[in-house]
Structure formats: structure tokens, C-alpha cells
């Protein structure tokens, strides 16, 4: 059992990070903390791609008579793209939080939702 966990170490790390991140997104009411959780969740997936791409003893895939075992470079390229997407998401999320704070004066989710319930009736007409 222990040997099995050890040999699949990267998967367990990925699973732990993914669940921790998802838990923060669901359990925290602070809009910034939610984004932090989201970041951890996204990052965990990078491990899923990168872990299996590393082959023990493998080199960079440059054709040479001296080397027989190569690591797969494609997942790295894919994850580079995923990192860019993650950065863009985080930047946009933070920008939205700034705007929410300007409009509501708070970044606590339940507080934000409560402040919208009050002007009932003909809702916040402009």
C-alpha cells in the first residue's frame, strides 16, 4: 500500500492540491481568498500533466546517438499555455474584485449579496 502511494506520489500531491483549492473556493466567503483557492485548484492540474511527462533518466528530446530515452516535451508546452490562461483568469478575477469593492465597499460575499437584497420593489432603477 505504502509503496503504491509512493510510486504514485505526484498523483496524490495533485489530488491533495485540487481538493484543497476547491475546498477554499467553496468554503471561504472572501472574494480574494476564493481566487487564491481557484489558483491552487488550477495549479494542481499542471502536476497531472507534468508528472507523467518526466521519464527517469530521460533527456531533452534532441536526437543524438548517445541518448536513447527522452522525456515528452509536449505537456510542458501545453502547461505553459495553461499557465498563461491561469494568469489571465487571476488578473481578471482581481480586477472584478476591485470593481466590486468600489461598488459595494466590501469584498465579503455574503455582505455583497445582503446589500443587494435591501432595495426591494422596483429594483435599483436607473
Amino acid at each position: 500500500m505504502f509503496a503504491h502511494i509512493w510510486s504514485h506520489f505526484d498523483y496524490w500531491a495533485m489530488l491533495f492540491l485540487a481538493m484543497a483549492g476547491l475546498f477554499i473556493v467553496i468554503a471561504r466567503g472572501n472574494l480574494i481568498k476564493k481566487l487564491v483557492g481557484l489558483g491552487i485548484f488550477q495549479t494542481s492540474v499542471y502536476l497531472l500533466y507534468l508528472g507523467p511527462a518526466k521519464i527517469v533518466g530521460g533527456t531533452a528530446p534532441i536526437v543524438d546517438a548517445a541518448f536513447k530515452v527522452y522525456s515528452n516535451p509536449l505537456p510542458h508546452v501545453l502547461i505553459l499555455t495553461a499557465i498563461v490562461v491561469g494568469v489571465a483568469t487571476l488578473a481578471l478575477g482581481l480586477a472584478l474584485v476591485v470593481r466590486i469593492r468600489e461598488a459595494y465597499g466590501t469584498i465579503e460575499e455574503d455582505e455583497v449579496l445582503r446589500r443587494d437584497v435591501q432595495p426591494a420593489g422596483e429594483e435599483a432603477q436607473q
Binding site: 476547491l22 485548484f41 492540474v45 501545453l78 489571465a88
Partner: protein
């Protein structure tokens, strides 16, 4: 070098190039021109490719001349050509409307950014449909999602910001689920090309990572298409976004996700893996029915018309998924036909609601009292679209429901026919709430002088309403293409 051969790449590249141009030009008139040109060109290209696919079969385009299993392949077949035409067609109609409507709804110095985001969103949606590469699909998904968060946040109401934030959280979780699914498939097959993946998965459909990938992809895509219990983000996002954005997203975003689901289920996993070995049929049937009834019931009790019809969208997604759950050619024909029919119906409906909002200053049920008197054309258009949502003969909605009922009868499930009709009665109830407010109440004193919507808003809206009626009378484009696409997905000669 022949431009004709590069149509699949141009389809995506033109709107993509228009987006930074709009940002650089900055001026709200100058920015509009390249985006409009790119959008209309994209529509023209999609029509050309649809004709070409009809004549000579699927088009495969190797991006950068890297041969398919290694390079990224753009693939246009009978299903994707129809969806490309739908998405770019809706965009071509909504964009001129957007120009007239954002004058009222968005600060002037943000107009150039609106056009840029619109072009990016269109790029993403077209990309999802045209690409034959799993990871490329994820990237396009994120392009369309990130730009749609911005578009929603442009809404005037401050609740648009919260709606956009919540959509961003849900959207990112969904995208990550899809990446996990694609990652697991990549680990098992060593390829990212969807068709190649489908071939290699044939022997290993019962392996556990493949099943996990199926689960992750199903949940991820269902979040995006707002399948019943995962629809929480949709009503707020549609309700508080600018009118043009509500119309564009309602008509295209969820439809493209259905396409992604069809593609993964039928082209990658294969129907035996999804429907024979797993109880997906019952699972999707139950969720579809729950969506049809719960969302329609919730819609009846809404006070804001945009929210009302947003919930109706969740219910209509139920019909679309119901068609998938039959796993038959007739069922899929109904699904694909309803994709198109519901897109033009809901697109037209949200465009008209935007026109009504421009006149009346808001679209809560209390505010649109007497809409039939002050804006008779707009109110009549909304009623026509409402009839299509109910499924009255002569409208597009009837055609797809007819095929759904045929598919149910084919399977011998009589009780489903009653349920489909019963859920249509719920649609009668929520459409009636609008009719009652618009025709049986006098307009508020301060709104009695409101006039009909300006031509810039009315013409695009009526193009959509016209399409709703047209597709109800002449089904050769919608049902014809849908039947061909369904035959292709299930690999039966049609």
C-alpha cells in the same frame, strides 16, 4: 496559395485579428468598423464552408501544414459547419444591434473595448466548434469565457459585477475539470487529436482513467451548458449583462457547449462507451426532465423578464439534453435542430427585451405594463418568440419538439410525450405573465409617451424573429442539416 483552401483558418483568425485592432483604434466608430467587417466575413466564410461540406464532405485543415495527429487540425463536418453558421450568423445580427444598444448602456470610452471583447468571444466560440484538437478546444473555451466575463461585467447594474465574478469562479472550475479530463485522455492515448483519440480509445473504454475522464468532461461541459443542477450562474449572468451580450450569449454560448458534449460523447468516447456500458441515458433523461420542470416553474415566479427568460433557457437546455439521452438518430436530430431553433428564438427574444428596456427604462413585469400599447411591434415580437418557446405550430420551437416526440415514440416511451407536452404548458404560463402585463394593463403614467424602438434596435431583432418563423415553416436547413449531422455522429448512412 489559394485563399479558398484557407477558409477554416480565416474563420477564426479574422475575428481574432479584429480584436486588438479595435483596442488600438480606441475610437468608438473606428473600432466598430473592423469588428463588423470581421464578423460579417466570418459569416460569409461559414456559409461558403457549409456549402462546400454539403457538396464534397468534411474539410480537414492542417494548421501550419503540420499533419493532423501531430499538428492541430481544424475540422469542418456537417455538424460543425452548421454550428459555425449559427454562431457567426447570430454575431452578424447582434453586433449592429450592439452598436445601437451600448450607446444607452455602456460608457462611451468603453465602447472600443466592448467591440474587442465581442470579437474575442466570437473567436473563442468559433474556435471551439472548428478545432479538432482537445487542448486547443480548452484554449478557445477560455478565450470565449474570459471575454464573456468582461462583457457581462460591462452591465450598468452593479449586480453585473457580482454575476461576472460568480460566472468566473464557476467557469474556471469548469475549465479545470475539462483540462483534467483531457489530461487523463492524453495520458491514456498519447494523442490530443479528437478523431485519433476516438480510434485509440476503442479498445480501452472500460479502463478506469478513461471513465474518470468521461466523468470530468461531463461535469465540466455540463457546467458550461447549464444542465439543470449546474445552472446557478446563468440567470444572473443573463439578467445583468448588457442587452446585446445577453442575446449573444443566450443564443450561442450554451449551444457551443452542447456541441462540445456531442463531440466528446460520440466522436471521442463513442456511443457504446457512453450509453451502453454506463447508465448515462437514464442519468441525462432525469436531469433533462428535472431542468424542464423545475426551471420552467421557477421562471413563472420571476419579476424581471430577463431573469424569467434566462430560467426558460435552462428549461430549453433540458429539451436539448433530452434529445441526446435518446441516443438515436431522431433524438439527435431533435437536439441539433433545437440548438438552432432555440438560438434564433432566444436571440430574438433578448434583442426585443433590450429594445423594450431602452424604451421603458427597465423590464420588470411591473414596468412593462401596457407595452403592447406603447411599443406594439416589440411586444408582438416577444409574443411570437414566446409562442416558439411553447412550441406552437408555425414556429421554430414546434419543429424541434415534434422531433423530440417522434424520438420518444420511437423508443416506446409514451409517458415522455405527456411530460414534454406538460412542460410546454409551464411555458404557456410564463409567456402568459408577459402577455398579461403587456396587453391587459395600462402603461404607467410617466411611460405612456414612450415610442416604438429605433430602427437600429428593431431591424436586427426582427431578423431573428423572422428566422424563428422561417425555421418553423421551412425545415430544410435546420432539420436537413441536423439529420445529416446526427447520422454522422452515430455513423449511420442517412
Amino acid at each position: 496559395m489559394n485563399a479558398h483552401e484557407h477558409l477554416p483558418a480565416l474563420q477564426v483568425v479574422l475575428p481574432l485579428a479584429a480584436a486588438p485592432l479595435a483596442v488600438l483604434l480606441r475610437d468608438r466608430v473606428a473600432a466598430f468598423v473592423p469588428v463588423l467587417a470581421a464578423t460579417w466575413a466570418a459569416f460569409a466564410i461559414s456559409v461558403l464552408m457549409w456549402l462546400q461540406v454539403g457538396e464534397s464532405g468534411p474539410i480537414s485543415y492542417a494548421l501550419g501544414s503540420w499533419a493532423p495527429p501531430w499538428g492541430i487540425e481544424y475540422r469542418v463536418d456537417s455538424l460543425s459547419s452548421l454550428l459555425l453558421m449559427l454562431v457567426s450568423g447570430v454575431a452578424a445580427v447582434v453586433l449592429p444591434y450592439g452598436r445601437a444598444s451600448i450607446e444607452r448602456e455602456i460608457r462611451q470610452d468603453n465602447h472600443a473595448l466592448f467591440y474587442a471583447m465581442f470579437a474575442l468571444c466570437l473567436t473563442g466560440l468559433l474556435g471551439i466548434v472548428i478545432t479538432g484538437d482537445a487542448f486547443n478546444l480548452f484554449v478557445f473555451l477560455e478565450i470565449s469565457s474570459l471575454s464573456s466575463y468582461v462583457l457581462i461585467a460591462l452591465g450598468r447594474d452593479r449586480r453585473a459585477l457580482v454575476a461576472a465574478y460568480q460566472y468566473l469562479i464557476m467557469g474556471t472550475i469548469r475549465a479545470t475539470f475539462i483540462v483534467i479530463g483531457v489530461g487523463l485522455l492524453y495520458l491514456k492515448t498519447g494523442t490530443l487529436n479528437l478523431a485519433d483519440m476516438g480510434v485509440r480509445l476503442q479498445e480501452m473504454t472500460s479502463h478506469r482513467p478513461v471513465l474518470a475522464a468521461l466523468a470530468f468532461l461531463t461535469v465540466g461541459i455540463s457546467l458550461k451548458l447549464a444542465l439543470f443542477p449546474l445552472h446557478q450562474w446563468l440567470p444572473n449572468a443573463y439578467a445583468y449583462a448588457p442587452s446585446a451580450v445577453s442575446a449573444f450569449l443566450a443564443a450561442t454560448a450554451t449551444k457551443v457547449s452542447v456541441y462540445a458534449l456531442l463531440r466528446f460523447y460520440f466522436s471521442v468516447f463513442g456511443e457504446t462507451a457512453v450509453f451502453r456500458r454506463l447508465p448515462m441515458e437514464d442519468f441525462m433523461l432525469i436531469l433533462a426532465l428535472a431542468g424542464m420542470f423545475v426551471a420552467s416553474t421557477v421562471a413563472i415566479f420571476q419579476r424581471d423578464l430577463k431573469r424569467l427568460f434566462a430560467y426558460s433557457s435552462v428549461a430549453q437546455i433540458g429539451y436539448i439534453v433530452l434529445g441526446i439521452s435518446f441516443d438515436s438518430v431522431t433524438g439527435l436530430t431533435a437536439t441539433i435542430a433545437h440548438l438552432v431553433n432555440h438560438a434564433v428564438t432566444k436571440g430574438g427574444l433578448f434583442l426585443l427585451l433590450g429594445a423594450a428596456m431602452a424604451g421603458m427604462g427597465g423590464i420588470t413585469l411591473a414596468r412593462v405594463h401596457g407595452l403592447g400599447r406603447v411599443m406594439p411591434l416589440t411586444a408582438f415580437g416577444i409574443v411570437l418568440c414566446g409562442l416558439s418557446l411553447i412550441g406552437v405550430p408555425g414556429t421554430a420551437g414546434f419543429v424541434s419538439k415534434w422531433y423530440l416526440i417522434l424520438a420518444a415514440l420511437e423508443k416506446g416511451q409514451w409517458w415522455l410525450v405527456f411530460l414534454i407536452v406538460a412542460s410546454s404548458l409551464l411555458a404557456v404560463a410564463y409567456v402568459w405573465r408577459f402577455v398579461e402585463a403587456a396587453y391587459f394593463h395600462a402603461p404607467r403614467a410617466d411611460l405612456a409617451a414612450v415610442r416604438e424602438a429605433p430602427a437600429g434596435l428593431a431591424i436586427p431583432a426582427w431578423i431573428m424573429v423572422g428566422a424563428t418563423i422561417w425555421f418553423g415553416l421551412d425545415t430544410s436547413v435546420t432539420v436537413g442539416s441536423a439529420a445529416r449531422a446526427a447520422g454522422m455522429l452515430l455513423r449511420v448512412a442517412s
